[in-house]
């Protein structure tokens, strides 16, 4: 597989995973040939625009694909064992105890009619078979862990602020001591200060509990703050994978470059958002070859016909013909 860590075996391996969604008449490929490994305690960001497949990738790992999703290829392995991600019932015992998800708690991810303590204790009762007293004690412990006084447990979600709700969501995610936590845009809809607090909390918990973190986001500043590694997704594929430092300093894929260029940076005189020209591709009928070629400033002839493979480059990976062993012809075309 594509794992490039030598020191220890990956906790999670996503191996050439493809997922399709069947819509009324057509079928749309949401992710294609997605491969990556995740080591214990590692924090990885999945970055991409809407429809890039980052959420589908994460939901597949958590075994939360919707009923109209079809795993059309590849697999996901947890500690070397294949996960039954396309079987809702078989997946149930794996959920929350191996991989849990921090949803956008600020929104409606908490049930409005139950007290938060009950919602945190629920997985302890049902999955860990704890007694009511044990589960409540554990839930109080978890609340303190995320910085909420345990006595606030009797509150209902609507009585808490967005940041507090997100903390509750994190406490709930830790209930069954998972080794992987997926953050599904966990800081969206929060103000900047609360965002920073939540990211810090996630970082602290990660090092304290040796959690592996997968952060889904379209916010690159979140990535820089909380992650070791970034995977940039475009139209269902990983186009670049590298360390945070590498990606921000020396992006290799043209899409990554444009993405980083688009961030306004007033300190450097970049006050305006510079958008990437063109539209995200249609998932039902993708452009041939590299899906980014219609928007790519360095597109070559080969880009319209051949899908570039995700090949190791430096200490990361990149899927771009510019960085593959180029033919003389293509080089000429690129310079023309």
């Amino acid at each position: 597989m594509t794992d490039f860590s030598k020191d220890n075996a990956p906790l999670l391996e996503v191996d050439r995973l493809s997922v399709d969604y069947s819509l009324k008449a057509v079928s749309a490929r949401a992710i294609e040939n997605v491969s990556f490994g995740l080591r214990a305690g590692e924090a990885v960001a999945l970055v991409g625009e809407s429809g890039s497949g980052k959420t589908t990738t994460a939901m597949a790992i958590a075994g939360l694909l919707s009923a109209n999703a079809l795993v059309s290829g590849g697999e996901v392995r947890y500690r070397g064992e294949r996960l039954p991600i396309d079987d809702d019932a078989a997946m149930r015992p794996h959920r929350w105890s191996e991989t849990s998800v921090v949803f956008q708690g600020a929104m409606n991810a908490l049930n409005p009619v139950h007290r938060i303590i009950k919602q945190i204790a629920e997985p302890c009762r049902l999955k860990l078979r704890m007694s009511r007293g044990e589960a409540t004690a554990r839930a109080r412990e978890l609340l303190e862990l995320v910085g909420i006084p345990a006595d606030r447990g009797t509150a209902y979600p609507h009585e808490l602020s967005g940041g507090m709700r997100q903390r509750v969501m994190i406490a709930m995610a830790l209930a069954c001591r998972p080794s992987i936590v997926i953050g599904d845009e966990p800081t969206t809809a929060l103000d900047v200060i609360t965002q920073a607090q939540i990211l810090k909390l996630l970082g602290d918990l990660r090092s304290r509990l040796n959690l592996a973190l997968i952060l889904i986001t379209h916010d690159l500043s979140v990535v820089a703050e909380a992650c070791d590694r970034v995977m940039i997704m475009y139209s269902g594929r990983i186009v670049e994978d590298g360390t945070v430092g590498e990606i921000f300093a020396k992006p290799k894929h043209p899409y990554t470059k444009l993405l980083i260029d688009s961030i306004p940076n007033p300190a450097k005189g970049k006050r305006m958002i510079r958008p990437i020209p063109g539209d995200p591709p249609n998932l039902v009928s993708r452009p041939s070859g590299c899906a980014f070629h219609p928007r790519c400033p360095s597109a070559m002839a080969v880009c319209t016909t051949e899908v570039p493979s995700l090949d190791p480059l430096g200490c990361g990976r990149v899927a771009c013909h510019l960085h593959q062993s180029l033919t003389q012809e293509d080089k000429i075309a690129a310079h023309a």
Binding site: R95, P112, V113, E122, L126
Partner: protein, 318 residues
């Protein structure tokens, strides 16, 4: 919470007072003088003096405000709803009380059946949205919900009473019979007619509520937590989906005492609904006024119960 209850009670009281006043005004603005109407049926010709005497004895010659209003309100508060025109000299309260058991039996039983069947079916259809049960139940419910219940009642009479002769289609008792079984046999068709329409209503509302809940974010959370479908349904979906359903149930309970006017008319059922029709035909204002007040009060009380039940179920409104 107690502040919430206090607010609800106060609101109910004010509404009730307004209903009572409006009820009074309503019957005073209806054209036609009841005394003229009553005496016009007399065989001997009536002199204006006689009409005037009648008006005086009923207090109709005094000014509407404040005399008549105050009289009415104080009498109503004392539980005195006046005397019927048609059923000469009988207390309105007695007349209504006499009819109440038949109506409560009819509408109450129909509600009970409709709540159990309709809510369960609707919740299931919403939970398994797009399934076979959903398609059949939704289609049938929309049809039932939009069909007037008196039409359903007449169809039921034609089939089960006239054609098949299985069940009586008229009245509450067979002549001479006085058994519970006989009463229940008479009750069967009217209850079915009322219940069918209500089932449609409950299915539509419960299904909509449940299918909203199913697509809520917290249901994804519940699934991610590794809950089984049954646990997701019972622990997370049911209570949220019941919020609008409970409101509908309590509001509908307000109509239990008012009766089902059209269905009672079709079956000549001796309930409050039937009394309403009789009183309307005879311009029996005191009786109508009493019924309207009863209806208004029971709707207000039902609203009160809906508010209180909602407060218990949904922490957000407390």
């Amino acid at each position: 919470m107690s502040q919430h209850i206090g607010r609800i009670l106060f609101r109910a009281f004010v509404t009730l007072l307004m209903v009572t006043t409006l009820n009074f005004i309503l019957f005073r603005v209806i054209p036609g003088d009841p005394s003229a109407l009553l005496l016009s049926g007399a065989r001997i010709s009536v002199t204006p003096e006689q009409i005037e005497a009648q008006r005086q004895s009923w207090g109709l010659d005094r000014p509407l405000f404040p005399d008549q209003v105050v009289d009415y309100l104080s009498a109503t508060l004392r539980g005195d709803f006046g005397y019927s025109f048609k059923f000469r000299g009988r207390h309105v309260v007695d007349l209504i009380l006499e009819r109440l058991p038949a109506t409560i039996a009819l509408v109450g039983l129909a509600q009970l059946i409709a709540i159990v069947c309709g809510v369960m079916l609707g919740l299931y259809a919403g939970w398994r949205r797009g399934g076979a049960v959903d398609h059949v139940a939704t289609g049938a419910s929309l049809a039932l919900y939009s069909t007037p219940s008196f039409w359903v009642a007449m169809i039921l009479v034609v089939i089960f009473s006239t054609a098949l002769g299985w069940l009586p289609g008229y009245g509450a008792y067979s002549p001479g019979a006085n058994s519970l079984l006989d009463y229940l046999r008479h009750l069967a068709l009217p209850v079915t007619a009322v219940a069918l329409g209500l089932i449609g209503q409950y299915v539509v509302v419960a299904r909509a509520a449940m299918s909203d809940v199913v697509s809520e974010d917290y249901m994804v959370t519940a699934r991610a937590k590794g809950l089984t479908n049954g646990q997701m349904l019972m622990r997370h979906a049911f209570r949220n989906a019941m919020l609008p359903v409970v409101t509908l149930i309590t509001l509908n309970l307000g109509y239990v005492v008012a009766g089902a006017i059209t269905v009672e008319a079709v079956f000549a059922w001796p309930g409050v609904g039937g009394l309403t029709v009789e009183a309307l035909n005879a311009r029996d204002y005191p009786v109508l006024q009493g019924i309207f007040l009863l209806l208004g009060a029971s709707i207000v009380v039902a609203n009160l119960m809906a508010d209180l039940a909602y407060g218990l179920l949904d922490p957000r409104v407390r």
